[in-house]
């Protein structure tokens, strides 16, 4: 233990160096003077006396050095000294320094960027008061039983149990929780609106994809305070309260340009004029799933007014509930006090449901369990879905980091060789090897830290690019912060330190292992190739291997994406423009009028030049916005083997099959009669997969089926046609599809499809104009071509293509630089040998061949290593690939070939230099 007083004493030299040095010199001079006097006193001549005193005293400078060691805190002094020295050294070789810092910056920057992602997705807690006190309620239920209940929200499979885990609860359960939870200081609820909200401000309409309704104590319970104005209060959530809205910081910036005068303005949400009362802080992105940032927050009491079309009863399970623990309380206590209440409530609800339902009794349902988990990160069911791809990303950037380290280590080795003389002199003057290693390590640490600083800058700069790749989801509403917070900076610093040691240690040890006698005898440059830089060569092999792994991964992703893009979807996807309208947002039309509106749009758009056909359906055929809406199918005389599977249902308008160019295989298409309300529930067109599954080889035309075996509904739906299979999950084989006529008492939303004769984009403004003519208040949204939609569907694949290609090329570049550097160095070292060979008659072709052969040996070793590595890692990415195996030999061979080509180029320059060696000059040097 070093005491404070002692520490202060020892730290003095750092600040008062000159004074202390002067004192020491004076003290030594006084000592010598006294010694000389004493010697004179015993009879020596002054000359003799001085000489004897000096001899007896010993080396003045050595004593000073030992004194300095004793006087200061040696390591701090050395560190400061080493840092100064390192800075001087690095400034002396700006080229080397720049290359090293750039290599490291790329490696560390890539790591920082990916880690900041992981931080966003997995680690970061809500930026609210004491996030660890927050709890979130979950239920765990039998999936079968949930089919019988009315609920909405996301569920995930609870691993190992076969149960579903959900976060949504009914209104009455929320009230119960609120009243009977002594361990919680606050209980609050939130839920996204069912549909996007149409927002009108100052006469301009736009669609806001993510909005939420919350209980009045939501903001207070979370402990968020307003960036501007005020947030919601329980008073806003009372019946009859004036309608208000709180907007997100992002929305405030985007829509209002951050104008503070926004407070008090009126924003019409769907048809409800709401006063904007406040803006949430920038860092607060809500309690939803990762990336889902609601732009508008309304009090829950306004839900029905806001979305009058959503008539699901209040006992539908749809509210997400969170609470704040009182100090000292635990999640276990909360669960104990509420589970009984909750299960009783569910039991009663189930009983009521069974009474309502006529027909055969259904098995008693399982009552779900209640679970209380940490709410520190808000809703987080989808988080673990990202773990595998994040792991792969992290793996990719880690490989690049290793490659960058190898590169830098190689540069340092070469530099160490160039500095042999300097290091030799320092060793000869008495510097210890440990001291020199420490000094060299300080230099590499400094490089690593500079690289890290540049890397953080790079990551910051690359952030927008990364965000543009939509790493987490294709929907435009997803928002990421990618903040470089404490976690990220700590990570980066740790990486930098680690790399500093990783790339610095070996070269430092190598550089200081010098045989002094040999070094100064001068004749160290031997003619033979005896002392090959084995370490440098293995580093190059490692680099080649790593970049090969990355490039193989990139090639596999590229080919996967191409396979996906070229998959036959069963219809002609080129030249189709898609958009959606939501008539319920525009006015309170009767639903029958909505269908008429849709038909008017079809008619009007069909007259636009360049439009070949227009149709619409309830949901898009395939794409980002297509979800599964299955109905059970019951065919008399057919029992489904295993678990009952649902068929995907599509409600389609006339000409649907014409616009999408889906061929009719058997029977007929829907005709005008089929769209009559009387008949629209009794006819259907199915796809081939459906026909094959339920009717085998028989002709399905005219056959009947029912929607649901439960209850007394007869099998009264007639199959009138069979169409070709289309996919709605690109990676899977087509599944049974049922097409129903779009009902005349239809849906308020429709997904329109326009088949263009030319470029579909060219039609966009004409279509917008036409729809505006029909109803100026009707917003058009999600306008995109079918191709664009598919591309967005492949966002993850594209992300990996972009990321792995970039990193792969980066690694390739690093490896080529490494190889080039090594070969140049080799040629330089062997100039004498090469000169001798040429003097003895070797032709320049042979010399080039020799150098190229040597490089190719290294590259081949690296390729073998890389292929082995890629083979071992293939298991990890196999699931993400499509249409080829993770060990696809063509890909492997192609990449290896490409690599050999690049390597040849990299070694050609040094080889040509070798061929130009003038034997006379080379030998004269020796």
């Amino acid at each position: 233990m070093i005491r404070l007083r002692e520490l202060l004493f020892r730290l003095q030299p750092l600040f008062r160096k000159r004074k202390i040095e002067a004192g020491l010199s004076e003290e030594i001079q006084a000592h010598l003077a006294m010694a000389i006097e004493a010697n004179v006193a015993v009879g020596m001549s002054p000359e003799e006396a001085r000489y004897a005193a000096l001899r007896e005293f010993g080396g003045v400078e050595q004593i000073k050095e030992r004194y300095r060691d004793e006087r200061g805190v040696a390591w701090i002094e050395h560190l400061v000294q080493d840092l100064r020295y390192a800075v001087r050294q690095l400034r002396k070789t700006p080229g080397f320094t720049a290359v090293v810092i750039l290599s490291l910056a790329l490696g560390i920057g890539a790591n920082t960027a990916i880690f900041s992602f992981i931080n966003d997705v997995l680690l970061r807690k809500l930026p609210v008061k004491n996030p660890n006190e927050l709890v979130l309620f979950n239920w765990l239920a039998e999936p079968e039983s949930m089919r019988q209940r009315s609920w909405s929200g996301r569920v995930v499979d609870e691993p190992g149990t076969g149960l579903w885990l959900g976060t949504t609860f009914s209104g009455p359960v929320f009230e119960q929780f609120r009243q009977h939870s002594p361990a919680l200081s606050d209980v609050f609820a939130f839920v996204q609106t069912v549909r996007p909200v149409k927002v009108t401000t100052g006469g301009q309409a736009e669609t806001v994809r993510l909005a939420q309704v919350v209980s009045g104590n939501y903001h207070a319970g979370l402990g968020v305070s307003a960036a501007l104005g005020r947030l919601l209060t329980p008073a806003d959530d009372q019946p009859g309260a004036a309608p208000v809205v709180v907007i997100s910081y992002g929305f405030w910036q985007r829509k209002f340009g951050g104008d503070p005068a926004v407070i008090g303005q009126v924003l019409t949400a769907n048809t409800v004029p709401c006063m904007i009362v406040g803006v949430t802080p920038r860092e607060f992105t809500g309690t939803g799933e990762v990336g889902e940032v609601p732009d508008l927050t309304f009090p829950m009491v306004k839900k029905l007014e806001l979305e009058p079309f959503d008539r699901s009863p209040t006992n539908t399970w749809r509210l997400n509930i969170m609470g704040r623990l009182k100090p000292g309380a635990t999640a276990g206590q909360v669960r104990a006090s509420l589970e009984g209440l909750y299960r009783e409530d569910v039991r009663q609800g189930d009983a009521a449901k069974m009474k309502e339902r006529r027909g055969p009794a259904i098995a008693p349902m399982d009552v779900p369990q209640l679970r209380v988990v940490s709410g520190a990160r808000g809703l987080s069911q989808t988080r673990k879905n990202y773990v595998p791809s994040l792991q792969i990303m992290m793996g990719l950037v880690a490989l690049v980091m290793i490659a960058a380290c190898a590169n830098v280590a190689n540069l340092l080795l070469a530099r160490g060789a160039a500095r042999r003389k300097e290091i030799g002199i320092r060793l000869a003057l008495g510097a210890s090897r440990g001291r020199l290693v420490r000094q060299l390590l300080t230099e590499s640490m400094l490089l690593a830290l500079l690289g890290a600083a540049a890397g953080v800058g790079l990551a910051w700069w690359a952030r927008d690019g990364l965000l543009a790749l939509r790493p987490i989801g294709p929907n435009s509403g997803l928002v990421f912060t990618l903040e470089l917070d404490g976690h990220v900076l700590a990570f980066t610093t740790a990486v930098a330190m680690l790399t500093g040691v990783a790339f610095g240690l070996l070269p430092a040890l190598r550089a200081t292992r010098i045989n002094l006698t040999e070094e100064f005898q001068g004749g160290t440059r031997n003619l033979g190739a005896g002392s090959r830089p084995a370490l440098a060569r293995s580093l190059v092999v490692l680099q080649v291997g790593l970049s090969l792994v990355l490039l193989i991964g990139a090639a596999l992703y590229v080919r996967t994406l191409r396979n996906l893009q070229e998959v036959d979807l069963g219809f002609n996807r080129a030249g189709v423009l898609l958009f959606r309208v939501d008539a319920s947002l525009a006015s309170d039309r009767k639903w029958r009028e909505i269908v008429q509106l849709h038909d008017r749009i079809v008619e009007r758009l069909s007259s636009i030049p360049g439009v070949k056909g227009v149709t619409y359906s309830y949901r898009p055929l395939i794409g980002v916005f297509t979800d599964f809406a299955g109905s059970l199918v019951w065919v008399p005389g057919y029992t489904v083997p295993g678990k009952e599977e649902m068929a995907q249902g599509h409600w389609i308008a006339p000409k649907f099959f014409d616009v999408f160019e889906i061929p009719l295989m058997l029977g007929r298409k829907f005709d005008a009669r089929d769209f009559d309300s009387a008949r629209s529930g009794s006819v259907a067109i199915v796809n081939e997969a459906f026909a094959r599954k339920y009717f085998g080889e028989e002709n399905p035309i005219g056959r009947l089926f029912g929607k649901n075996k439960i209850g007394a509904a007869p099998a009264g739906i007639e199959i009138v046609g069979v169409v070709r299979d289309t996919k709605w999950l690109v990676r899977e084989a087509p599944r049974p599809n049922v097409y129903w006529p779009y009902p005349s008492l239809g849906f308020p939303t429709a997904s329109f499809a326009v088949r263009a004769s030319g470029d579909p984009h060219a039609l966009t403004s004409a279509i917008r104009g036409a729809v505006r003519e029909i109803d100026p208040k009707l917003p058009l949204y999600d306008v995109r071509t079918q191709d664009e939609d598919m591309d967005r569907l492949f966002h993850q694949e594209r992300l990996f293509v972009a990321l792995s290609s970039f990193l792969g090329l980066l690694a390739l570049a690093l490896a080529s630089i490494g190889l080039y550097g090594l070969m140049s160095y080799t040629v330089h070292r062997r100039t004498g040998e090469i000169g001798l060979r040429m003097a003895l008659g070797a032709r320049s072709g042979r010399v080039i061949g020799m150098i190229v052969r040597e490089s190719l040996t290294l590259v081949c070793l690296g390729i073998v290593l890389g292929i082995a590595g890629a083979w071992a890692a293939s298991r990890l990415i196999a699931k993400m690939l499509f249409g080829l195996s993770a060990t696809d030999p063509v890909t492997y061979a192609g990449v290896a070939l490409l690599f050999t080509g690049v390597a040849l180029l990299a070694c050609l320059l040094p080889a040509r230099r070798a061929a130009k060696v003038d034997p006379m000059v080379a030998l004269r040097c020796e």
Binding site: F9, E26, A30, R66, D69, E70
Partner: protein, 110 residues
């Protein structure tokens, strides 16, 4: 270095410096002479050890250095024992006595 002059046992220099300073404050040269006299010319005190040792002891707070004027009217740095240094001297002396008597006993035992 002459043969009959022996090197100091590692770690004992500090104790001897404290002992030498027990009665009076001294400068470095004086200290070196005093140590030699005390050992009856047996021990050779290396200057390369003496000055770092003085620094070490000063850092520990056992001795204190102050600039003063020598008898020969020369500016010199005088070292004196502090209270903590006196305590340390006692403790180290006791420890040394224990150590040396034990080792002596052990050497005589055979």
């Amino acid at each position: 270095m002459t043969k009959e002059k022996s090197e100091l046992l590692q770690g004992t220099l500090d104790l001897l410096i404290l002992k030498a300073l027990q009665l009076e404050s001294m400068h470095g040269f004086g200290l070196a002479q005093k140590l030699r006299a005390m050992s009856k010319d047996v021990f050779q005190v290396e200057m390369g050890s003496l000055y770092p040792a003085l620094c070490r002891l000063e850092a520990q707070g056992w001795i204190k250095g102050e600039w003063g004027i020598s008898d020969a009217n020369r500016k010199a740095r005088y070292y004196s024992l502090t209270a903590a240094g006196r305590k340390q001297l006692q403790a180290e002396t006791a420890q040394w006595e224990l150590l040396s008597s034990t080792i002596n006993a052990m050497l005589k035992a055979t």
